[in-house]
């Protein structure tokens, strides 16, 4: 048998993976290797596979992902810094049949928006909060975030985070898991294909729980910031595995009882 040529393989019937149709053609503004892009695509895949385009309202934060609305072809609202869960609360209450999610970074969700995060979870709003935790303020140029690790350098902790004066890194997923309003709290990653596939399964569960009106779903994605951390993308992922994952361990923190 003749050896298969490249042309023989790349036929439509042999397609194994291509980016979601819900991703627009706009080139994402993220730095090379940034986990936001992978997280966006995983989310878009779920929305496409679950046929949710016409039912979804997404809320974007202030932070690097503020322009997320340019990349996924669904209706979006852009919130003020930290307020996405408040917007999502109203959207879901007024249109209970829609799929509503917020997409927030650590500065947005765990610093300025802490009150909105906690009270939205405490009310058990039937929304998904997708929390990208890279331990730094990316958009404004690499300042210390509430999730910055102890000793970690940033532009506002140039000698490393000193917990005696700057406080300790905050584990938001563990905090909201204590609230009766949350039904599903999990911590995932997107730096490997396995991680991205697990995140996809987690988002699918969140869609199911939102349909079942089980309460707030909170998915943290421990991610990287090569530019803010001043590393190459590959180095940043390695650093994340060695330093972020031990402090923010991956896996489910709270799962609802099966119905």
């Amino acid at each position: 048998m003749a050896e298969l040529t490249f042309k023989d393989i790349i036929k439509p019937e042999n397609l194994a993976y291509t980016k979601s149709k819900l991703m627009t053609d706009n080139v994402m503004h993220y730095c090379p290797g940034c986990g936001h892009g992978t997280a966006h695509q995983v989310l878009a895949e779920v929305l496409e596979e679950e046929n949710l385009q016409s039912k979804t309202i997404g809320i974007t934060p202030v932070g690097c992902s503020v322009l997320m609305y340019n990349y996924i072809d669904i209706d979006f609202q852009e919130a003020a810094h930290g307020r996405a869960p408040a917007l999502a609360t109203a959207v879901k209450r007024l249109m209970p049949d829609k799929f509503v999610f917020t997409y927030q970074g650590d500065g947005d969700l765990a610093a300025i928006g802490t009150a909105e995060t906690i009270h939205t979870c405490n009310r058990g709003e039937n929304i998904l909060i997708l929390f990208i935790n890279n331990g730094i303020y990316g958009m404004t140029g690499g300042q210390m975030a509430p999730t910055t690790l102890e000793g970690m350098k940033s532009s506002t902790s140039p000698y490393g985070r000193n917990v005696s004066t700057m406080g300790s890194p905050i584990k938001m997923a563990n905090i909201v898991a204590m609230l009766p309003g949350t039904c599903y709290v999990t911590r995932q990653s997107v730096n490997t294909a396995l991680g991205a596939r697990k995140l996809k399964r987690a988002i699918k569960k969140a869609v199911q729980y939102q349909n079942e009106k089980r309460g707030t779903c909170f998915i943290e994605v421990v991610s990287n910031c090569p530019s803010g951390w001043k590393m190459t993308p590959v180095e940043s992922n390695k650093w994340m595995e060695e330093n972020m994952f031990p402090f923010y361990p991956l896996g489910d923190i709270k799962v609802p009882e099966e119905k």
Binding site: M1, L4, F6, D8, I9, I10, K11, N14, L15, A16, Y17, T18, K19, S20, M23, V27, M28, Y30, C31, P32, G33, C34, G35, H36, G37, T38, Q41, V190, N191, T192, A193, G195, A196, R197, P226, T232, P233, V234, N237
Partner: protein
């Protein structure tokens, strides 16, 4: 024994050369090019295309969605 052959199509102009796909690939199929694209990035390409099994790990992890993967059973 049935064998799986894969192939990747890479939109090199949209690639930012982050190299995440290269380290993810279990078959050492991918590498960064010496040349750069219009944006100045050393884009990724299939340096050893014959090793590709179409597992799609590279495409799943690519932050910019520039990789399309095909696979076919042979034999």
């Amino acid at each position: 024994m049935a064998k799986i052959k894969g192939a990747v199509v890479i939109d090199t102009e949209r690639c930012k050369g982050c190299e995440v796909c290269v380290v993810t690939c279990p078959m050492d199929t991918l590498a960064l090019a010496v040349e750069v694209n219009a944006k100045g990035y050393h884009y990724c390409y299939a340096a050893n295309p014959e090793t590709c099994t179409g597992c799609a790990n590279c495409a799943v992890v690519c932050p910019d969605g520039v990789i399309t993967v095909y696979k076919i059973k042979v034999g």
